[in-house]
């Protein structure tokens, strides 16, 4: 089993989800639950910090897809920050930059929510 950790932080206005390790078909559920939790509490301004993320599989990418429309329909957004080159490559191949805003630094992503 690959190691995967997830932490949620941020301020009241913007939630930050920190992903660490391997996000694959097995660990995707954990990520899904974390997002479900936030959306359930109407916390739809979400930044996903991928600094510690070593690997993301299609199932992991699917989690982003599964939530983005719901989050946007509630007036929120999911923004990505601090992707490693390798993980960015996966996002990029799939064309995610068209769908998601991707930032070099978490602070920029958070700031973007404050003054869109």
């Amino acid at each position: 089993m690959e190691r995967f950790e997830i932490e949620t932080g941020g301020t009241h206005a913007v939630s930050v989800v920190y992903l660490k390790g391997y996000l694959d078909a097995h660990t995707a559920q954990e990520f899904e639950r974390a997002l479900q939790d936030l959306v359930g509490k109407e916390k739809v301004h979400i930044v996903v910090n991928c600094a510690g993320l070593n690997y993301i599989s299609s199932a992991g990418l699917g989690v982003f897809m599964g939530f983005i429309e719901d989050v946007r329909s509630r007036g929120g957004d999911i923004k990505l920050a601090e992707l490693t080159d390798k993980v960015f490559r996966v996002f990029d191949l799939l064309g995610f930059p068209v769908l998601f805003e991707i930032f070099q630094r978490e602070a920029d992503a958070v700031a973007k929510f404050k003054k869109p």
């Binding site: 694959d24 078909a25 070593n54 690997y55 599989s57 299609s58 199932a59 990418l61 699917g62 989690v63 897809m65 599964g66 939530f67 429309e69 390798k86 996966v90 191949l93 799939l94 064309g95 995610f96 068209v98 769908l99």
Partner: protein, 686 residues
Amino acid sequence: MLKKWIWVILSIVAVLFAYAFLKYRLIDIPFLADQVKEWLIAAGLVLLIVRLTRRAWFVRTNLVRKLHGFGLWMLALSTTAAMFPLSENLRPESSKAVQVLSVTFFHTVLGLGVLIASLLLLLLLKELVFVQRTRRTELQFRILLAALFLNILFVMIAGPEEKIHMPASFTFDSPNLFHVLLVLVSVLVGFRNKWIHYLNKKSKLSIFFAGNAVFIFFLTQYASLPRFLGPIGTSAETAVSGIAIVTAVYSGMALAAILIHLPSAGLMDRKMREVKSFQELSAVLGSDLKKETLVAKIPVLANPMVDADIAWLELEEDGEFHVVASYRRGNASMDIPPEAMRRRCREEVLDQRKTVLMNDLSKCVKGHSDVPFPGSLLAAPVASQTGILGILFAMKSVPFGFVEESQGLFQAFANQAAISLENVHLVEQSIKQQMAEEELRVAHDAQMRLLPQRMPSVRGFDIDGLCVTANEIGGDFYDVIPVGSGRVDLVIGDVSGKGAAAAFYMAEFKGVIQTLVSHFDSPKDILTEMNSFLRKQCDQDMFLTMVYAILHPSRRTLRFARAGHCPVGLIRGRKLSWLEPKGLGLGLVPDRLFRSRLVETRLTLKPEDVLFFYTDGLTEARNPVREEFGEERLARLLAEAQPSTAQSLVRTVADRVDAFTENEPRHDDITMLALRTLPAKKTKTG
């Protein structure tokens, strides 16, 4: 068993008849003195008693029936004594023939009957004394027998004048040391009445009253019992009087003990019910592995155990507690209390993590005075090692309905329930796993059947593909479709997610593609249609990456588009270039956006050019130190490969990846598809 009885009766009959005949000189054996005959019969009697009491009798008779037997024999003996009140009546007075007849009847048959009944009483008494026996019990019973034998010995030595004088009115006429000893030992043995604990309240009551009647009757008659044996001999007389005294003492003490136990009989019954509840739960656990049945049974067993009006079980699911089963005693008029109150009790249990006893709910549950709820409640956490599975409640409509002592038992029961639930859970999981493995196998087979079984031969080209499946279904697929009129379509794809669902989608997409090829002739159109299909038909979090290529073999032209998939490698000479035209994964965005972002690339292939398609399982294959095979390693390998055939290329790459990953388990399918343009000269001959 029957043989044993025949043996006993025959031996008793033989001994007594022999004795009677000797005694009344029906057979005259002159050289045998009376004294010797007396000694012989005494020895025979002692041997008989020793022999009989050594064996275990009435093994299969239950306790109540043993008690009934004991009482009935006491009754029979008393009745016999009452029916023949005067020993004088038995004296022979008339002619020799009548004498002989009356002697044989009264002195032998009656004497025999009384002796047999007495011996049976002794055996039954032994059974009662031996309930839950210890070494000490056995020793005490032997001492009792020894006291009995000592009395016989004493009478034999001292003569008939010293035989036991039955204390008819609880006084000893002329007590001797051995009589006193016998009574004392009887009292000692009288304490061995543990069987009383195993009687329920009802039996205790009935045995107490019926027993007293029999006991009093026995007391009035037992003093005249030995005289039936008198004509036979002093030893038999002594034995019967000894047994009668022991019986009287033992039954008297037992009745007194029952009287003492009567007030606590209800309590004992409850204890027994508690034990039974436990046993039943283990039985349920052993026999039933269905969660529903087990859950339903838990309150049913818990309720009588603590004598509650209502019991219910709440199980945790996603942080919420729900009542899953309840049991109400037949005549109780209580319902499960409202959620607000249950929450308050739950919090208490979760806080303390042990059984909580609320003696007066109206005081305990503050802030809910609008629901004045009298009564008392027991609540125990049903906890396993992994955490609290639920809470078991028992409730009574009266305050202080439960005793403090019930807490430990209730908790023990809840623990047992937790183990049972955990077991059921484990079994369910293992069944699920088995099913999952089976599902996986079926999906594997389906996946393999979806891949092209044979590569179509394409003039001027050499095509080969390979799919190395992972331990789980990865959702990879490829296909080479001869469309006709000089067109061959190549497709490679990867469905997001894993497992049977991915394999199922694969099958569906293969069908969709088969339909689309005949209607559209550009990769861009086909992929846009696929995107449309995915958007409409599939889950939101499901997507697909794909490279779609259309080859015109005669013109050696190839058009392809990449929908979020891995780049395509073009090996030309000793150089590798990655072709990565823009394109989004299928199912991610609406058709218009998808189409506007999709770039179609057009290539004219030269002889010995190789196009290499793959899925991310290849570059993401990991070695034991978590290093990925990666695009760079693949690029180097492809540039240096110099393949002579498409097949040799995919083989080489597969072998290299295998060597790289060593024994690491594969997480994803690895799929490759190679298209090689044959050298110019070969096209002529081909």
